[in-house]
Amino acid sequence: MEKSSKTPKFSNAALEGGKQRESLSEKDSMKAKRRQSQYPPFGMAPVEEEHYSDSMKTKQFASRASRALKIRYANTYQLEPRNKFRDCLVRGKAQAILTNQLGEAKYDGLSSPSLCASISEEILRAVKELDFDRYKYVVSVLIVEKAGQAMKVASRWVWDAQKDNWVSAKCETETFIALALIMACYYE
């Protein structure tokens, strides 16, 4: 798969029917399989059938002279993720990270903010490594000093109850409590 440079304008492409199409490189967070297409732009002329019999995801290129490049995906006919989010695995990993990093730490007003941020990044990295299909993640970590006060944390969401899920992990020491919330949202 090759990355390539900017697409020629629509009006020019119309004249250069067989010319190789090139596209802008994609945003990093969206993974897409790419290949250089030798077919005319989408919507211009009937596209040959073999282009669609390919079961892999392919990007179709469409360019407008005045508007920014629009990318359209061919149907994959996949309604479910191949590798579904498994909360038991994630809970185990998150708990392990919390106990490793915080097991013997003492609450300190100066170092806690950076500790909090680094834990959330590490949990995110670990969840990404588990490589679940088509998921976006939100990891939230709270560190609360113990001072005899009461605290309540509540969450609600509007999402797809069948495919989206969440996991929480807690670590308690003498001076503080750490709480990690990991939410996974299905995205296709």
Binding site: I119, L124, V144, Q149, A154, W157
Partner: protein, 116 residues
Amino acid sequence: MEEFHPHNDEMIFNADEAHNIVKECIESVLGKADYNHNKVNQWTAAIVEQSLTHLVKLGKTYKYIVTCAVMQRSGAGLHTASSCFWDTTTDGTCTVRWENRTMNCIVNVFAVAIIL
């Protein structure tokens, strides 16, 4: 072959709008109340549910996650951090901090775009 255009081609999460919505919800629920251990459950549930209802009423194609933490004020420290793996062009987050004499309230809103 039909060309399918998503509802809104350049969908961006409007953090200011979300901030205002959430702030109004907090003020309507907590307003001038003092910390009351018996009522905290009701308060957090009300804040989160109201915020969610108002956000959904915006009518955008987003999934929302709203987290609320209410803490009694006692001089203790509280740190929160979040990291997200998503599409930075369409998805976004908003955090609202509110406090009064007896308690602190932090509300996090995460909005994840979906394509219909």
